[in-house]
Symmetry: C2
Subunit: 346 residues, 2 copies
DNA sequence: CTGAAAGCGCTTACAG
DNA sequence: CTGAAAGCGCTTACAG
């Protein structure tokens, strides 16, 4: 049986409010959307009626009419068991939330394990019109998601830099100054044998960090003792550290993220290599954990929360107006703590 | 200008499919929703037409008709700067995703900082009918969210146990066996002076763990050397550990989560207290990081991902059918590693 | 400055 | 087994 048109039971609708205020429902719509062309007295009368009835516009109906979802999408591709160890995304998501929440918008999250599932997630976001736009995070070399989104007609914002100047707005945080400062810090402490443990080289930011390291070392007339690519996991950081101890041993290691540095610290201590006396260690992220290791971790700090907030603002603007400018955030910076010290045996 | 009814431009609608298949749109709806009462040949014809046109039912329209949002809500109340250090929720969320994603449903996440904002988040989920139900996580003593949800008419599932037998289905994982095993492990190693660093006592699971610890210790005819409540943060764990070293020193410390245990490890090492020679340490969570500390962390492992998956299944069932049974997950268990060893000076 | 009506794209009884 | 029509609760030109 079709429900009778706006009888009193159930949540009030715009029809109830219109009747209560003695106006048409079109007018109610104008008022709650703050459109011009409504007399102040009428406006007040409608507002009062809505308050009295405790009416909130039905989001689904609004979505259908405006063809807007009031939601933004984030796809995380990674092993679910690893996601817990990554300190970046929780903070990044908190930043997104900080701008969406006051706007009454929400974040729709999709955690997937494989590249295929990732593509499916974007397609499904688009096909179901589930979100107004998506974040393009964990940018990869020759990333095909830009083309995918273009084909799907789904607005997207780049979280980071893509080498090909793209059609999508980018929200960028430059790692370079932090890495450069870290290398200078080590050189100033007398280190000449510095190694690097990088993240997954398929990821653009892993490449950028590594490249910044290599250039910084070269800038001091040195050559890296070793450069090892891994996958950003603690297990990867531990294995790389063990390998570095086996070979031509450096006096300092720079890691591409904090979890790897923490795992490296564990391996060094387990091998009887004193930090920082025998080995200096530098992380990357500036996360909570580095404050509480022993020794506390010298690290390169970026601000994932600000990054998330800026990306959300940019995506909102893009989805609303059709374009948005690039944003450049304050660059990463060095946070010296106790895991770096003078080079041994000078 | 009102858009002309289903002209060809833009995405195809159910009307286009109906025309293409030569049936009414009502019939198309029956077919895609797998309702009985449609001839197989017709069914196939409709499916073909939909495929040919690349049609996917519009989610917003469907939501409006069915009064279902195809989304579940999770509210996280915590300092955004702390969220990154918590290993539980990313895994828990991955578990939720693992059941929602194949169903074409999504998780809507809200990260809030205060109790007021938390209540607002639930109210807004309900008022905007943004989700079909919510997870009630981080259960607190005398939690008023159960009443709040009842008032809002919003289905909810308890993630954990509430002491008052409630009207809401609960998905429970018993910490007790893990804690009991940890204490037995320590006693077997000769420890008689065991301390406990607990989490925020406002949280039910913090109380349960603490209580389990106290009962286990009493079960061996011992008394805890000290029991310190904190807030589950690394900073809290570090401070509590420092305090324990100042007083009547224990030979083993059990922590209510891994981050606190890791921070405790840092303080112990910084104070020259060798682990496990002079002090045994037990964590709680079984997270990745504990594998890579030095020494590797003995911990009590639960399975946040399974927990998330079970909670999602239960909430889906509740939202669909109006009720769902409680679920009891396999209990937490001890994972002995290197941070526990024989008690010193017996 | 306001009202009446059509439209968004589905679902669902009801009548055949 | 199928079709025509009303309804979900909004928004938006258009006419007054």
């Amino acid at each position: 049986m079709p429900r009778t048109k706006s009888s009193t039971p159930g949540a009030p609708t715009i029809v109830d409010v219109a009747r209560e205020a003695g106006v048409s429902k079109g007018l109610v719509s104008l008022v709650i959307n703050d459109r011009p062309g409504v007399a102040d007295a009428t406006r007040a009368r409608v507002r009062d009626a809505a308050d009295r009835l405790g009416w909130r516009p039905n989001l689904q109906a609004r979505r259908l009419s405006t063809r807007t979802t009031y939601a933004l999408g984030l796809v995380l591709r990674r092993d679910p068991r690893i996601v817990a160890a990554d300190p970046f995304y929780p903070a990044f998501m908190a930043g997104i939330e900080s701008v969406l929440s006051p706007e009454g918008r929400v974040l729709v999250l999709s955690v997937v394990a494989t590249a295929e599932a990732e593509e499916r997630a974007y397609r499904s976001f688009a096909a179901d019109r589930r979100v107004d736009g998506v974040f393009l995070n964990d940018l990869r070399h020759g990333d095909d998601r830009v083309g995918l989104l273009a084909g799907l007609g789904l607005p997207g914002v780049l979280v980071g830099r893509l080498e090909e100047p793209g059609s999508l707005p980018a929200v960028v945080l430059d790692d370079r100054p932090g890495v450069t400062a870290a290398v200078r810090h080590l050189v100033d402490l007398g280190h000449r044998r510095v190694a690097y443990v990088g993240g997954d080289p398929a990821l653009q930011h892993a490449r950028h960090r590594r490249q910044a390291f290599e250039e910084a070392v070269a800038g001091h007339g040195l050559t890296p003792t070793a450069v090892v690519d891994t996958d950003f996991t603690m297990a990867g950081g531990a294995a790389a550290t063990a390998a570095l101890l086996g070979g031509d041993r450096p006096t300092a290691i720079v890691y591409a993220n904090d979890p790897m540095a923490v795992a490296g610290l564990g391996v060094l201590q387990g091998s009887g290599v004193r930090v920082p006396d025998a080995m200096s260690v530098v992380g990357f992220d500036g996360t909570e954990i580095g404050r509480h290791t022993h020794p506390a971790l010298t690290t390169i700090r970026s601000d994932p929360e600000q990054w998330g907030a800026a990306a959300a603002r940019t995506l909102l603007e893009l989805a609303t107006s059709g374009h948005a400018p690039d944003v450049e955030l304050p660059p990463a910076e060095l946070v010296p703590r106790r895991s770096t010290g003078p080079a041994p045996d000078r």
